[in-house]
C-alpha cells in the first residue's frame, strides 16, 4: 500500500515514502504527538488489559558510548538467561528472535523491521474503512484492525476519513478498541516502519520538537508508523521524517538532523 521505499535492485537509495492527502476542508487541528514509547510487553498471551510497563530508557538516552551491533534471528546475545524483549532463552542462553540492533551495555534489543502490534495507550493514525451501525472499523496499519465504537466519540466519521485515536484496549485475541478519536483534515500522511517511530519522537520528544520547530508544521505522530503533517514547510518535514527512518540505526543522528534542517530551510 503506502509503503516506505526500501532498497530496490536498481540501487536508488530508497526514501520514496508513500504519501496520500486526506480530503476535506481546512479545519482546526489540535497539536499532539504520539506517546513516547519504551518497551511493549510481549510474550505469553492475556493480561494485556494491564497497562504495559514502559521500562527502560531509550538507547540514545544512556550516557556514554555504547556498542550496538546488528543481530539476526537465532544469534546469541548472552550466555546466561536474560529477560530481553524480542529475545528468547534456550538451554540457559539468550538469543535474538529478530533482525535488530543489540545494545550490549543496556541489554536492549531494538527491532529494525516488523509490523505494528497495537498496545494500550498508543496513539495511532487510522483510516476509516467501514462504517457500521455501532461504530467504525479502522485500518491502523497493523495485521489487526481497530474498532472505534460509536459510544467512544461524539463526532461522526465517513468512509476514508483519517483519524487520530488512542488504543483503549487490546484483548487476549488482539481485538483492538479505539477511543478519543478526532478527524485529521487536509494535510498529508507519511508512513514509515512503526519500529522507527520512537527514534522520530526522540528522547523526551526532542527530535519531533526539533522538526516541528524548524518546519513550523503541525505533526501528529502515530505509534503505528503513520505521521500526519500539515502546514509550514511540510515537504521538508516529510523529507526529514523519511531520513530519520532510514538512518535510525546510525549514531549521531540528532546532530545530522539538526544540520539537515538548517541546510534545507
Amino acid at each position: 500500500m503506502y509503503g516506505e521505499g526500501k532498497f530496490g535492485v536498481e540501487g536508488g537509495g530508497g526514501g520514496g515514502g508513500g504519501r496520500f492527502r486526506s480530503g476535506g476542508d481546512r479545519g482546526f487541528g489540535r497539536r499532539g504527538f504520539g506517546r513516547r514509547e519504551g518497551f511493549r510487553r510481549e510474550g505469553p498471551p492475556a493480561r494485556e488489559r494491564e497497562a504495559p510497563q514502559r521500562e527502560g530508557p531509550e538507547e540514545h538516552e544512556i550516557a556514554g558510548p555504547h556498542i550496538t551491533r546488528v543481530v539476526v534471528p537465532g544469534e546469541k546475545i548472552s550466555d546466561s538467561p536474560r529477560p530481553v524483549q524480542f529475545a528468547f532463552v534456550d538451554e540457559g542462553r539468550t538469543y535474538s528472535s529478530i533482525l535488530g540492533l543489540y545494545d550490549e551495555s543496556a541489554g536492549r534489543l531494538v527491532p529494525l523491521e516488523g509490523c505494528y502490534l497495537p498496545a494500550l495507550d498508543d496513539y495511532v493514525v487510522g483510516v476509516v474503512k467501514e462504517v457500521k451501525f455501532s461504530g467504525y472499523n479502522v485500518d491502523i496499519n497493523s495485521p489487526y484492525a481497530g474498532f472505534l465504537s460509536g459510544k467512544e466519540t461524539r463526532d461522526e466519521f465517513d468512509l476514508g476519513d483519517v483519524i487520530y485515536a488512542k488504543v483503549k484496549d487490546v484483548d487476549e485475541v488482539k481485538n483492538v478498541d479505539l477511543s478519543d478519536a478526532r478527524k485529521l483534515e487536509s494535510g498529508e500522511i507519511v508512513e514509515v516502519l512503526s519500529v522507527k517511530i520512537p527514534r522520530i519522537i526522540g528522547k523526551k520528544s526532542s527530535m519531533i520538537s526539533m522538526l516541528m520547530g524548524a518546519t513550523k508544521s503541525e505533526i501528529c505522530v502515530g505509534r503505528n508508523g503513520r505521521l500526519w503533517v500539515k502546514g509550514g514547510n511540510s515537504a521538508l518535514a516529510v523529507a526529514a521524517v523519511l531520513k530519520i527512518a532510514k538512518e535510525a540505526h546510525l549514531p549521531g543522528l540528532t546532530d545530522r538532523m539538526s544540520a539537515f534542517l538548517k541546510q534545507q530551510a
Binding site: 534471528p73 529478530i98 523491521e113 516488523g114 523519511l242
Partner: protein
C-alpha cells in the same frame, strides 16, 4: 555419464565445494514486507514475504497463532525445457508443503494470532537444488520482514555422485547421480527441518552426507547473515566483490538525503 574425473566435478569443483556464484541480497522488493534474491550456481530465485497480515480466507484463521503459507513456483521460463507451461503441479505443491513446514517450525507464530504469513518463492532460472536455494532465500526474506524466528534456516543438498559423497548438485549431477538429499538445517541447535531423499544409500553413506551437509550449511548461513546485516552496516567490507548479476549493496548512507529518482512520481 561420468560426473567425477580426477577428483573434479563437471564444473571443476571438489566434492565439498559449493557452487559459485553463491550470493544473497536482502530487501530487493519495495512492496513486500521482506524479500531476498539468491543466485546459487545458475539458479536465480526470488523470495518475498507478506505478513503478518489479516488471514484471508477466514476459515483458515488460527486463533492461537499465525498460519504460515508457502508457495513455491517455477516461472514459465525457468528451465531449459517446458517453456510456457505454468501453474502449480505436483512437484511444486510438494515443495511448497515441505518448505512451509520448515518455517512453521521456526517462526514464533504465537506472537501473531489470527494472522497469516505468506511466503512466495519464485524460481526465475533453475539448475538443480532449487528447493534448498529457495528456502535459503525465504529464510532471509522472513528475517528481512521482521518476523521473529528461532534461527535463520540454511538449505543445502548432499548425496552421492559416481560413487562418492558430495554436496550441492547442479542439474546434471541431480539427474545422473545415485542419490540426492535436500536438507534444511538450523545451525543454532543442529536440528534438521527438511530431509528428503532420492535414490539409495547405506547408513554410513547417509551419515557422511549429513556431516558434509552441515559443513555446507555453515557456509550458506554465513552468506544469509551477511545479506541481512549488509543493509545496516555503514561501511562495506573492503574487497568484498558482489556476485555478478546482483548490483552492489547500498547500505544506508549518512550523507545523502533520500531523493526520489528523477521523474518518479510519489504514489498517492
Amino acid at each position: 555419464m561420468k560426473l567425477i574425473v580426477d577428483g573434479k566435478r563437471l564444473d571443476g569443483r571438489s566434492l565439498s565445494d559449493l557452487r559459485t556464484p553463491l550470493a544473497i541480497r536482502a530487501g530487493v522488493l519495495n512492496k513486500a514486507d521482506g524479500s531476498a534474491y539468491i543466485e546459487w550456481g545458475n539458479n536465480k530465485i526470488l523470495a518475498a514475504v507478506y505478513g503478518p497480515k489479516e488471514c484471508i480466507p477466514r476459515h483458515d484463521i488460527n486463533p492461537y497463532k499465525a498460519v504460515v503459507r508457502c508457495r513455491y513456483a517455477m516461472s514459465p521460463f525457468a528451465s531449459f525445457e517446458e517453456h510456457g507451461r505454468t501453474g502449480p503441479n505436483r512437484r511444486s505443491r510438494e515443495i511448497s508443503k515441505v518448505i512451509q513446514e520448515v518455517f512453521e517450525n521456526v517462526i514464533l507464530a504465537e506472537q501473531f494470532p489470527k494472522t497469516a504469513i505468506d511466503i512466495f518463492i519464485e524460481v526465475l532460472q533453475a539448475d538443480g537444488g532449487t528447493r534448498v536455494a529457495g528456502l535459503t532465500a525465504a529464510a532471509v526474506a522472513l528475517a528481512d520482514a521482521g518476523i521473529p524466528m528461532k534461527d535463520v534456516v540454511a538449505g543445502i543438498a548432499a548425496g552421492k555422485i559416481d560413487g562418492q559423497i558430495a554436496v550441492d548438485f547442479g542439474k546434471y549431477e541431480d539427474n545422473f547421480g545415485e542419490s540426492d538429499m535436500p536438507f534444511a538445517i538450523s545451525l543454532r541447535t543442529g536440528e534438521i527441518l527438511l530431509f528428503q531423499m532420492d535414490g539409495m544409500l547405506t547408513k554410513d553413506e547417509i551419515a557422511k552426507a549429513i556431516d558434509m551437509a552441515f559443513e555446507g550449511a555453515k557456509k550458506v548461513n554465513e552468506l544469509q547473515v551477511k545479506a541481512l546485516k549488509a543493509r545496516y552496516v555503514e561501511k562495506e567490507e573492503k574487497g568484498a566483490a558482489p556476485a555478478p548479476g546482483i548490483p552492489p549493496q547500498e547500505p544506508a548512507s549518512a550523507e545523502q538525503p533520500p531523493q526520489p529518482a528523477e521523474g518518479q512520481e510519489q504514489p498517492y
